[in-house]
Amino acid sequence: MIKSFLAYDISDLESMHILSKSKNLFNNGILEEEQWNTIKEKYPTRIYAPPLYIKLPLFIISTLGLLFSFGLISFIMEFSGFQIQALIMGPILLLLTDKILIRSSFHFSSGVSETGIYFGFILLAIGLFGESDVDPIWYLFTGLFFTLIITIRYLDVLALIASLFCIGAIIFRFTSILGGLAEALLPFILMSVFIGLFLFSSNYEQKRPEVIFKNQLIVAKSVSLLVIYLAVNYYVVRELSIELMGLNLTDNQDIPFAFIFYVFTLIIPFGYIIWGIKKKSILFIRIGILTALLTGITFYTYFFSDYTIYVITISGAILILVTILLFKKLKLNELGFTSEKVMDDSWRTNEIGMIMASKINDNDQSIPPKKNDW
């Protein structure tokens, strides 16, 4: 059902992914030029997906062009209010982007297509709501609906992040409306919902073989892990309680049940890193490192803010020493981790990988299948 809703051809998308991976292998010297040329012939794609350094200027220039055009069109359509103009222009822009840029010209995340899609939906939202005085939760539901459409139909990663944000904001708004115990339990409700989202994404990734959703699922899992941590991070809970819920606290005063949040702030990053090492998941290790840094900043803010220079200097020195030690220790750890670059810049592959490949071929002719993708 989701595949039929996609704006792109599945085979084009799969070919694009195969070409992208193969190009990376060719640039790292894993594939020979002849092999790379063969892959290009076997898996042609009509999709235009430029690299970031082309996409970003295209996005900026097309956005500026569109904004100036709105001015011109508003000047021409001066007989009608802005809400009506938005209600007319939004769907037209979406239709033009979908039919001409995406379906006919096969633009995929080209910068120009994103300008059309984002502005089309923004205008549609303005056209629907205008200056009406509805509860903010309806804006959030509309935002969630639109961002989900963009995520599924156009495989847009930014829209996915926006939709996850909308989910969090809706939960926050609901608990604010309910008040009392619901408001107090907000961190744990958020945590539970995003644990659910993470498990759903992991499960979906294992059950569905399509590579076309790979990036979206990685982003969904990463954002979910981050929100699980941030929902119970002491700094976030304390400051948002003061800002959004009007809690009155002095500088040295703790929030209720502060101890629980301090414990979560401390153990979640290390839990991620340990789980990442155990399951050899780079995602968990990276999110673990990021959340460990955020934990450091949290504790610095409340306990060591008078010693800024010492904290920065000593942290820097510790990080340098630890990474140099790890570089030496992780030449090839028994757990399978290495500090070496597995795919290096030279034309031959890294010897470590080739030695291990030859050892595995000696021991077992068939490589044991694993569900995880690279």
Binding site: P50, L66, S105, S281, T338, N361
Partner: protein, 319 residues
């Protein structure tokens, strides 16, 4: 998830050895933390040098300054010992050192040298006297290290220090001497430096002396040249404007043929700014109410340029 390696192996594009290697990575029998460790190391270097530099600045009046300078000098000495031990001899072509964090030690030593020089200047009250020379000294040290040890990050720092030498040595010194001179000659320095860097880029390729530094020189040179010319526009609209349009057109044509998208984009933006500036100047000076043209000018030109880039998307595509 689809196994791309298996798919390529099944259709006979890759051989068994390649497939085995790729399966090692996919099945996580080998997981590389190379980029993660480098990122943390970079963060550590930035934190340490920032913290220590600020410590030096804050404690300049206290008794420990000699110890601090001694500590800095020792760290630099240890760093250089490490660099000398693992570096390879100078070569005009690309030099690669197999050691994973060699370039980070190089960066750390370069930053510590600058910290020590600043410390000495401030402590011995040599700032005003050496203002012109300290940037030049930093430039010399960075450029020497960049060429000797083949490091583009330090080359970038050296070029920026060179720009600071030309920029900062003019207005602050004039101001200290009591002259309220304008900073207009700064953009001439920017233009001249920009042209010089572009020429150096070409010479390095022709003479094959660190030809791989060309993109760094070309990039910074173009930015300096264009920003200098754009800054000079209000003072000499027509001459600078026409010169800018002509030179940017030539560079744009060159970038088009070499398929260098960023340089092509920079040149186009410079042409657009110069042309728009001249157009607005003409409209301002004439008494006619032709400002209505601008309402159509901006959207049409921006949309037309977007369409042009999209229609020629395959030109800049690198396989």
């Amino acid at each position: 998830m689809i196994n791309i390696a298996k798919k390529l192996f099944d259709v006979g594009v890759i051989n068994e050895q390649q497939f085995s290697f790729l399966e090692l990575v996919r099945t996580k029998q080998i997981v590389s933390l190379y980029y993660d460790l480098r990122l943390i190391l970079y963060l550590g270097i930035i934190l340490f040098t920032s913290g220590f530099g600020y410590f030096v600045y804050q404690n300049i009046g206290s008794a420990g300054h000699i110890l601090a300078m001694f500590f800095l000098a020792s760290s630099i000495a240890v760093g250089f010992y490490y660099i000398f031990k693992f570096s390879k001899p100078y070569s005009n072509s690309l030099v690669l050192v197999e050691l994973n964090f060699f370039d980070y030690v190089l960066l750390l030593v370069a930053l510590l040298i600058i910290t020590l020089l600043s410390y000495i200047q401030i402590y011995f009250e040599l700032v005003e006297l050496l203002l012109r020379w300290s940037s030049l000294l930093s430039t010399s040290i960075f450029l020497f290290m960049a060429y000797r040890y083949d490091n583009r990050a330090i080359l970038t720092m050296g070029i920026i220090a060179l720009a600071a030498t030309l920029g900062l040595s003019v207005s602050p010194i004039d101001w200290i001497e009591g002259e309220l001179s304008s900073i207009s000659n700064l953009y001439y320095s920017s233009i001249i430096l920009g042209i010089s860097l572009i020429v150096i880029a070409q010479v390095s390729v022709i003479r094959n002396v660190k030809a791989h530094f060309k993109s760094t020189y070309h990039h910074i040179g173009l930015l300096l040249y264009y920003s200098g010319m754009v800054a000079a526009l209000p003072d000499n609209q027509f001459i600078i404007g026409i010169l800018l349009i002509l030179s940017a057109s030539i560079l744009s044509y060159q970038a088009w043929h070499k398929k260098e998208f960023l340089f092509f984009l920079y040149s186009n933006i410079a042409i657009y700014i110069a042309f728009t500036f001249l157009l607005i100047t003409i409209l301002t000076e004439s008494d006619s109410m032709n400002f209505i043209l601008l309402i159509y000018y901006f959207p049409f030109t921006l949309i037309a340029y977007t369409i042009f880039l999209v229609l020629n998307k395959s030109h800049f595509k690198h396989d």
